[in-house]
Amino acid sequence: MLLQAKSLSFAHPGQRTIHFPDFDLDSGQSLLILGNSGSGKTTLLNLLGGLLSPDSGEVVLDGVKINDLKGQKLDLFRGKNIGIVFQKPHLLAALNVRENLELAHFFGKKEGQKTIELLRELGIADKAKSSVRALSEGEAQRVSIARALANAPKLILADEPTSSLDDSNTEKVIRLLQTQASKIGAALIIVTHDQRVKQHIPNFIEVKAS
């Protein structure tokens, strides 16, 4: 078992505690986290990525209890093993496309995947030296996916990756995430309320604000 989430709960300051369903995932498997806005989908994603620490329960990735790690160790573990695709690309405008990917290698202290090949697989090899400001929205999203994949992580987390994309781009992005995940043997978790995504990934859990 690559990833296990057990009896996780979290309360944002001044709000009710959210209890999350348990689940586990093998490498190469995909999972959708569905739920209405405000139900705590993104919170679950933050818990899985070690960006937030749960009030109770645990996340075990490849035998390591993420919530036992602290500070610098947690940061490094995340850099090496978890790739996160955010709702918006959040590329560093001061760096070009290739340098944005190399950031992951530097901070994750890992050689990871070859930048150029990764970009080629994602169909944006010709943009390697472009400024990130010159990219279209779809291209920027693909670069941010490439950055999440750069260190060949064991777990890929994607937060509403398709919310601002059109149908054809949505399909491309989901395909891309799935093929990449199975190529590097990672588990893929996508948080979404996008119905289009469900056609591609049948496996899902639902988060309900109870």
């Binding site: 490094l76 850099g79 996160i84 955010f86 959040h90 001061a94 992951a104 290698h105 901070f107």
Partner: protein
């Protein structure tokens, strides 16, 4: 990819803001560099050129002018003094040695100084080639004079009246170069040295010519002159003469500390001459200049302060958009400490750049001043000497950078990744 490179990318990503801050800082540091260099070198040169001279005696006038004209050869002489009075002073028991100077002529702006061989000893100069003067109209050139004028041993030239270029020439009798001095980095480098007799005879000839025109006794007069042109000149003390002669100033060395108390008062009140102490006048000069220097220093520090504020504001302002970047870096595995280092690196890189540009600017500005300025005033300054204090300038600039980035760095340290990335 490394932190240094990331910091550099961020700086070059905002070239205008970065450039402005670097420029402001550099300007402030350049002012301070120039002041440091000028102060250091001026004081050193001033003290070096005045070493061994306890008192300068000359015609009444401004004591500062007397010092500037006869020690540093910058200002105009105050006038001449009768030689018999000067000789009387030299026999005073408080006086150890007197070096008479006869000033008033120049060659291409380099001053011709009539004196004796003691002057060479006073500055400890040595001959690079040739020998010291023995007869009237023989001269020894300072190294810089030789270099700039291209004169060599045996060259002949005529001096011009006055101490600046462009006055009328004494073309009756040419000076002959007998020796050239080693460079010593002091005032002597820029002087043409000869005997007092040479200076006298140069001016006699003028008078003689006029006399001849009026009275028609050219022949005898000329011969008489040319006769004593080939007598050896005085190597020390005053020249031998029966006529009533004048010299311009005397450089006096005291025999005892007692002299410092008695001699100046005696000269100033008891004779038609005035006495001035180089050390006293120079410290007075620095006091006068001090106000200007303090003012410039103030402006320099204000500029540095403003640029520090500018750097702070630039870092702080960019932090809002930067917070996403920082959160992304954290998500990619960066520790909070690495982010702190990144922000500090940016501030330090910026100020280091400012320091380097500032020091370069300061030196270039000084080099420019020297190339444009009066050679007598500025040629003793060396623009490409680097002082230890300049390291302090760099340290100071880096300090400004660290202070300016402290608050932005703290807020980078506190960035919460989850909050930043999910509130978008």
């Amino acid at each position: 990819m490394n932190l240094f490179k990331i910091a550099w990318k961020y700086l070059t990503f905002r070239p205008l803001s970065t450039g402005l801050n670097v420029f402001l800082l550099a300007l402030g540091l350049a002012i301070i560099t120039v002041l440091l260099l000028v102060q250091d070198q001026f004081e050193k040169k001033m003290n070096q050129d005045a070493a061994g001279i306890d008192l300068v005696v000359g015609a009444k006038g401004s004591p500062l002018q007397l010092i500037l004209s006869s020690v540093y050869h910058i200002d105009f002489p105050t006038g001449n003094i009768p030689m018999d009075e000067a000789q009387r002073l030299s026999r005073n028991r408080l006086v150890k040695n007197v070096i008479p100077l006869a000033l008033g002529d120049n060659y291409q702006g380099f001053r011709i100084v009539g004196t004796n061989h003691d002057y060479l000893t006073l500055y400890g100069v040595e001959l690079e080639e040739g020998a010291a003067w023995e007869e009237p109209f023989e001269v020894v050139l300072g190294s810089e004079v030789a270099k700039k004028s291209g004169l060599t041993l045996g060259s002949e030239f005529s001096g011009s009246h006055g101490i600046s270029v462009g006055s009328h020439d004494h073309d009756q009798h040419n000076f002959v170069v007998k020796g050239i001095l080693f460079p010593r980095g002091n005032v002597v480098d820029r002087l043409v040295l000869t005997s007092i007799e040479s200076v006298w005879y140069t001016h006699d000839e003028e008078g003689g010519e006029e006399e001849a025109d009026e009275e028609g006794v050219v022949h005898e007069d000329e011969e008489a002159h040319h006769d004593h042109f080939h007598h050896p000149v005085a190597k020390t003390g005053f020249p031998q003469t029966d006529e009533e002669r004048e010299v311009t100033t005397l450089l006096v060395q005291y025999r005892s500390p007692m002299a410092a108390v008695q001699l100046p008062r005696m000269i100033n009140s008891g004779t038609s001459m005035q006495a001035a102490s180089p050390s006293f006048e120079i410290s007075r000069l620095f006091e006068l200049l001090g106000i200007g220097i303090t003012l410039l220093e103030g402006i320099g520090f204000i500029l540095i302060g403003v640029s520090g504020l500018g750097i702070f504001i630039a870092l702080y302002n960019s932090l809002k958009e930067r917070k996403y970047d920082l959160a992304i870096l954290r998500a990619l595995g960066a520790s909070s400490m690495q982010l702190v280092i990144l922000v500090f690196l940016e501030g330090i890189l910026l100020t280091f750049l400012g320091a380097v540009v500032g020091i370069g600017l300061g030196h270039s500005f000084l080099a420019f001043l020297i190339s444009k300025g009066d050679p007598m005033m500025t040629s003793s300054l060396e623009p490409w000497i680097f002082l230890k204090q300049e390291l302090w300038i760099v340290a100071y600039a880096l300090g400004v950078g660290i202070v300016a980035s402290a608050i932005p760095a703290w807020s980078a340290y506190q960035t919460s990744i989850a909050k930043q990335l999910t509130k978008a």
